[in-house]
Symmetry: C2
Subunit: 334 residues, 2 copies
């Protein structure tokens, strides 16, 4: 059995870039034990804001990029290709995932050993799968905290992948500086698996697998989506989401895509939107923690879930009006 380290020992190790201690600290974050959680929060509080050059908002610490796309779009090979390029350029890259399906399958797709083979052997890349067995809210919290630890350990680019289930895109959009939507070129039915509202969250669209006989289709799709995006309301940031093509196979377009992300960073740092977005994200995170705590306190009362389920059935069947149902829920003694 391993000796239990102090939060200072963890913090010192992480700030020195010790990957083993980073991994063990992330395991504390993922733990459900109260003493692990308390220790994890101590470590976080110690390391975050400790690095010179950035504060608790993480300014200057890293570029945070969210990546989504339907299954089959090629997220893993895309991340491998982008990750190789970034590490070659001297960056240190952490790849995290928000995957609420891992609670069902018992392990993240990202944990699959056949994925990201090259990148997982790269000393300047750190890949951490989603822990299994948690709600989306739990996954979101752990991913945010893991991101902060990785930044403290010196990773200057964080990629957060999402599988696009439930509200996971919105959650990831709420924790990154740049949200990238990967798209497949096809015959118009390419979006069957994509949810409505996602396209308008994107800071850029990238059509993947733009190589070989697929080139013409990819370019046509690029023009179509670019025209469609012109009809969207402006983002309010001075940034116009572009549509790009790329190929993880040939590497074509990957460098161009990264240039787009750094252009976006430059613009939003200059016009103040970067700071604004991070501040709003922190506030939103805080408010959702408050709501979560209020809900936990209320809904954990004995028998309440059963009563709620009974009342909701009556609302659904049209036996109770919502206002009546709320009165019943709050007036019945508990």
């Amino acid at each position: 059995m391993r000796t239990r380290l102090s939060s200072d020992q963890y913090a010192t190790g992480i700030l020195a870039g010790d990957r083993l201690l980073l991994s063990r600290a992330i395991t504390l974050i993922e733990s459900r034990r109260a003493d692990d959680q308390a220790l994890a929060q101590d470590v976080l509080a110690t390391v975050v804001g400790h690095n010179s050059g950035h504060d608790l908002l993480g300014n200057g610490a890293s570029i945070r990029v969210g990546i989504t796309g339907v299954p089959g779009v090629g997220k893993s090979t895309f991340i491998e290709s982008l990750g190789s390029l970034l590490t070659e350029r001297g960056h240190r890259l952490a790849v995290l995932a928000v995957d609420p399906t891992s609670q069902r399958s018992g392990g993240s797709l990202l944990g699959d050993k056949t994925r990201m083979e090259t990148l997982s052997l790269n000393p300047n890349a750190y890949i951490r799968p989603t822990p299994a067995g948690d709600s989306l809210g739990g996954v979101a919290r752990r991913t945010r905290e893991t991101m902060l630890l990785c930044e403290a350990a010196g990773f200057d680019i964080i990629l957060v992948e999402t599988v696009g289930v439930g509200q996971s895109e919105t959650v990831v959009h709420g924790m990154v500086d740049f949200f990238l939507l990967l798209m497949l070129a096809g015959a118009g039915d390419e979006l069957q698996g994509m949810k409505r509202g996602i396209m308008e969250l994107a800071d850029a669209l990238a059509i993947t697998k733009a190589d070989g006989s697929n080139m013409a289709t990819a370019n046509r799709a690029r023009v179509d989506y670019q025209n469609a995006l012109h009809l969207f309301p402006p983002t309010g940031t001075g940034w116009f989401p572009p549509v790009l093509t790329c190929s993880a196979l040939t590497g074509e377009g990957i460098g161009n895509l990264w240039q787009t992300i750094t252009d976006h960073q430059q613009l939003t740092h200059q016009n103040g939107y970067h700071l604004h977005r991070r501040q709003e994200q922190q506030l939103t995170w805080f408010r959702s923690l408050v709501q979560e705590e209020l809900n936990t306190r209320f809904f954990q009362q004995p028998g309440l879930r059963e009563r709620l389920s009974d009342i909701e059935t009556k609302v659904r069947l049209g036996v109770l009006l919502p206002v009546q149902a709320a009165q019943v829920l709050f007036t019945t003694p508990y």
Copy 2:
């Protein structure tokens, strides 16, 4: 001073289609007095579900249509034109509004006497402005309840207009069967005032002012938007949101638009989506009432708003991490 009626007297009058009693009951709904609210809830509980042919979900009672669009798109003249057509066809029409700006201006735009002059004199139309001085949540609740009263009074078509401020479109989308987005044809900058995410809520887009020298521009816009909508993910209902053109001036396209709405009703009644959407709306409404009550109980504690504001400033400035901030909020004694 008027005598205070019993809830049975209100209910009988409303079910008989008495407009005066309907108006007085809506005033009760809008009142902040506890005894008025109690009476209003009694009246609601009595009339709703009382009409044969529909239940508490309002099935069979009416078609509920939400209408939004940026200022200047011509919502009022559009509603006048559509309303005249519907009353000529024997329908009885209620026009409500969700306008959270009325709390600032002290009165709804819809209450402006210069608007909807013809319709306001029409015996088969009932126009009710938004009450002033309330939050969006409050406006939403009152509009929902007013809608139920109007349905009980025999109005078979409810139009809910929104000015598109804050989250008002989402709120209106959550209370109607069909959500219509009015758009101006222009030079590409027509959407400056429109928020992102609204286009994907729409069950149809209508390009207004498609008359005279504006026809060609309107038709071009129609084709552009239709192409853009094809790239959107499917709605999951079997319905493909069409883009239409219309003119309140010439009346052209208004009948066609109504046909679209009834086509949608027929499809969604047949495939079960109509019932599903209303059930989900009731559940969402109920859940938001529960959240509202939990928040009220917590945030109304003495001094809590000030402490919260202080803590949020620290989160925004990066002095506290969100998790730390939540701990401070919940552990400090109050």
